[in-house]
């Protein structure tokens, strides 16, 4: 162990500290993330072409995507530079902020149908989905909680405490209503509990209890359209014009892409409006149609690589907080990948879960950027216990 604690020379401590710190900066992680973001921009371009206006004019999906990308990069840089340890200090206030923002969303937010997912930011006039931010904030809060209570990870009370922490957030998100994000939060909780080393026995009990609650949730919690989505997953042909429509059309899009795809902007399912939600949730369908199997494979590879880098950071983090942050991020990204792509290709029911980096949306991208930035911040600061 001692060999890992090599002290740098006193002279030029700062500069060399910075120098060796930058060696710890995970370039691969950054590159993979940037490449995924590029895919996202490419799909935004295709969608803009489909919309008819020149993709480069102001206000199109593509230019807005560029703008969010720029902001995300800035956020990433700031988060990297920021000493993550302050997060530990401010975890509880951050939790309060999280709850507050979610309540705000419910109060003044507007969205599709009766939902209140987006809040319009007054001056800029852009719409922000606070539930995306909630995911990152929950990761931080849970990381703090689990890393502080590590000594008692075997006890049920720690596990229950984590659940109780998450529960209000999940409820607030469900009220919006946003089933997808609530499921992601549950996945984050589960992933972090698992990766924290908590006792499997208790986790198994908890899982069983959750499954037992499903019928209750079905009858009392889920809205009709959410139930319809789940049913039509099991049989898309039962309502080909309604909720089964997306499922069938997206599979058609994906299948029609074949090995090499139809070429960017050439997807007929896209161009002819057969997939109404194509900029957001179903963007992978367009990607698969236009870039084919090979394109999709590249995206999978990038995700796998990204997850590997995140896990690697989590593994080598000496600070359990850092490890937990990494675990949370990995769980979030893996779950969203599985559910979104699974939905598009017909092996998962429809839920409103965005595909990280690729689904168009500022909040999602910025939250990811902040999360990865925090991870980098952790990477950079592993050499020093106190900075």
């Amino acid at each position: 162990m001692g060999v890992l604690r090599a002290e740098p020379a006193r002279l030029g401590v700062a500069s060399r500290a910075v120098g060796s710190a930058w060696k710890a900066f995970d370039w691969q992680l950054t590159v993979y993330a940037l490449m995924l973001m590029t895919f996202g921009l490419v799909m935004a371009y295709s969608n803009s072409v489909h919309d008819g206006t020149s993709p480069f004019s102001w206000g199109t999906t593509f230019t807005r995507g560029l703008m969010w990308a720029a902001i995300a990069i800035v956020a990433f840089t700031l988060a990297t530079a920021f000493d993550y340890k302050w997060l530990k200090t401010f975890a509880w206030p951050l939790y309060g902020v999280n709850i507050g923002l979610l309540i705000l969303s419910l109060a003044i937010g507007d969205g599709v149908g009766n939902s209140s997912r987006w809040v319009t930011i007054p001056v800029i006039g852009l719409q922000f989905q606070f539930s995306e931010l909630a995911k990152i904030l929950m990761i931080i809060v849970l990381a703090r909680y689990l890393s502080a209570g590590e000594a008692r990870l075997d006890s049920l009370s720690t596990i229950l405490g984590a659940c109780l922490l998450t529960a209000p957030v999940v409820v607030l998100v469900m009220l919006q209503p946003d089933l997808g994000t609530s499921l992601v939060l549950v996945a984050i909780l589960a992933g972090m509990l698992f990766m924290s080393g908590a006792s499997l026995r208790w986790l198994a009990v908890l899982t069983a209890a959750t499954i037992a609650c499903v019928p209750l949730a079905w009858n009392f919690v889920l809205h009709d359209y959410q139930k319809a989505r789940l049913i039509s997953f099991l049989d898309p042909t039962s309502d080909p014009q309604g909720s089964g429509y997306h499922l069938l059309q997206s599979q058609i899009a994906v299948g029609a892409g074949g090995l090499l795809g139809k070429g960017l902007t050439n997807g007929t399912q896209n161009q002819l409006d057969f997939l109404p939600v194509q900029t957001t949730d179903f963007v992978f369908a367009i990607l698969a149609e236009e870039l084919g199997f090979l394109g999709a494979l590249v995206v999978f590879a990038l995700f796998a690589a990204l997850l590997w880098r995140i896990l690697s950071s989590a593994w080598s983090a000496r600070d359990p907080f850092g490890a937990m942050v990494g675990a949370g991020l990995a769980a979030m990204i893996l779950f969203q990948l599985m559910v979104n792509v699974g939905m598009v290709i017909g092996i998962m029911p429809i839920t409103g879960v965005p595909l990280p980096f690729i689904t168009h949306g500022g909040a999602s991208l910025i939250s990811l950027a902040v999360g990865l930035g925090i991870l980098q911040s952790i990477n950079l600061r592993q050499g020093r216990a106190e900075w």
Binding site: M1, L4, S147, E150, A151, L153, D154, G191, F194, M195, S196, G197, A198, S199, L200, Q241, Q249, Q251, I252, A253, V254, G255, A256, G257, G258, L259, T268, Q269, L272, D273, F274, P276, A288, E289, G292, F293, A296, L297, F300, F303, A304, L307, W308, L311, A314, W315, R318, D319, P320, A327, A330, L334, L337, M338, V341, G342, I345, G346, I347, A385
Partner: protein, 629 residues
Amino acid sequence: MNDAFLPNDAARSRRPMRFLAFGVAVALVVGALTIRLVFLQIQQAPAYEALAEANRTATAALPSTRGVVYDSAGRPLVRNVPTWSVKIRPADLPYSQREAIVARLAELLELTPAEINLRIESNPGSRFDLARVKNDVPESIARIIAEERLKLPGVEVVVESRRDYIYGPLLSQVIGFTGAIDPGQLADLEAKGYLPDDLVGKAGVESQYETALRGVYGVQEVERDATGRTIHVLQTASEPKPGESLVLSIDLKEQRYAQKALEWGLKAAGVRRGVFAVMNPQSGEILALVSLPTYDDNLFAKGISDKDFQALMQDKDTPFVNHAIAEQYPPGSTYKLVTGTGALADGKLTRTSTVLSKPFVQIGPDKYWDWNHTGWGPLNIIEGFGHSSDTFFYQVSQMLGIERLAYWAKQFGFGAKTGIDLPGEVPGLVPTNQWKQDTFGQGIFPGETLQAGIGQGFDVATPLQVLNAYAALANGGNLYQPQVVREILAADGTVVRGFQRKLIRKLNVKPVHLETMRLAARRVSTIRHTYNVVDMPIVVAGKTGTAEFGVKDKEGRLPFHTWYAGFVSKSGNVTKPDSQLAFVAFVYGANTVGNAATEVAKYYLQLHYGIEKDYRIPSLLVRGNFYGD
């Protein structure tokens, strides 16, 4: 590592496994997604490609222009005019908005919401096919609906061509009309390429010649977006073939004369139902065919209201029925042509042999009276026919017997459809022992044979059958098939099918006997049985008829129809079979003092030949009860 941050040993020892497990999870998820992707994109790619293709491409039918109709002189009788129609595709009509949409349409189209809903529900196609809501919508309304398109999902405004029947009721019995396809017919018609909202001929030549008139629809492959709207045409797989046009044998001028004459006659007699038809006996071509009362087929072309339709359906004089071919009546004395010809052909009579025309013929307790109740003494066939002596012909019927009588009737075309190229023809009835046995379980009684010989009893015939029989007499013994369509033309005017005379049969009668009967028919005019017909500057030969039918009135009298069937000699010498004009007039339930049908025929002949002097005797059309003939 900083020991202060070390997790407890148990947790720490689990961590490597957890990381490993997570890594495995990542691999599993990515693997599963990839496998599914392989399935969709590699294995099943062709199927999905086809589905994507099917999503976007569709075959659309290109309607062909429907053929038009001309009269024999080439005058257009039917045109296609462009019109706006409003249709609904039920599958695109959101249930939640349906009431509002129907209400708005009702407002604009001046229909009730119930009517609109009925048209949607009774659409023979599927929910994805267009249902016709209203035809012939004014352009301003059509444009309003088109502008409100986004508020009226599922509603479509299309330009179609509709029929314009230029002369309306004058020719509706011959031309007919087109209308929506009945649900019962749809399955068969779809196999032939009809669309559920197509129009199909329903009556007259529109129906009889539907296939020729319709042409062949073309096929286009189009690319459509998710709302079903056509984005652009990919290719025209086949061009539509325009429908063929019809040239009728009907002459508009003759039709007008016939209509005028019949209308006048019916009005003067105070009745509503009658027929007048004109034929060229040398070919079987129908020059005029009028059946009253009639209807205006333009009502159907524009979309008839339920009110009007019900009024027509419930009219007791049945304007939809072409009384010339689709109804059968007792022919009365016109049938004596059959009896007389049969007797001559079978050798029962010669031109000079006589039969005593008694006041009545007795069979058992029953007396069968002649119409003048006294008879005329001994008469030969020509005189007997000329006076229309009933007792003469009763005895001739007895000489022939019912079976021979039936044979000769069928020779003349009675008891079978003529095969005219119009829908709805009925065959009439010629009674025989077998028929009576099958129908009533007994043979023909002797008294019934008497009745059969003078066109009463069980005899029934259509006016067309009567006309055709006299035409066969006029042309020397050839029973031709009556035709209303002379020629069929392609869209560019070339003749696809020219006129073909069709012989049903050559009568099994020696020409000399037919000559005798023609002389007999002329005797009817010269003996003044038809009053002043003989005074007209044309040589008319024919036979009148007064046919009793129905139920006796309180004075014990039966109502009667009046008939007059005959021909005009070309050369003036009726022994020659050179006539080019045969006619039949029929007035239903005339109950007039004189023969209403004769008056109608006289008027027509005046108009046709441009005879200035008016030979009509209106006082004969006064109601009274005229027994006889």
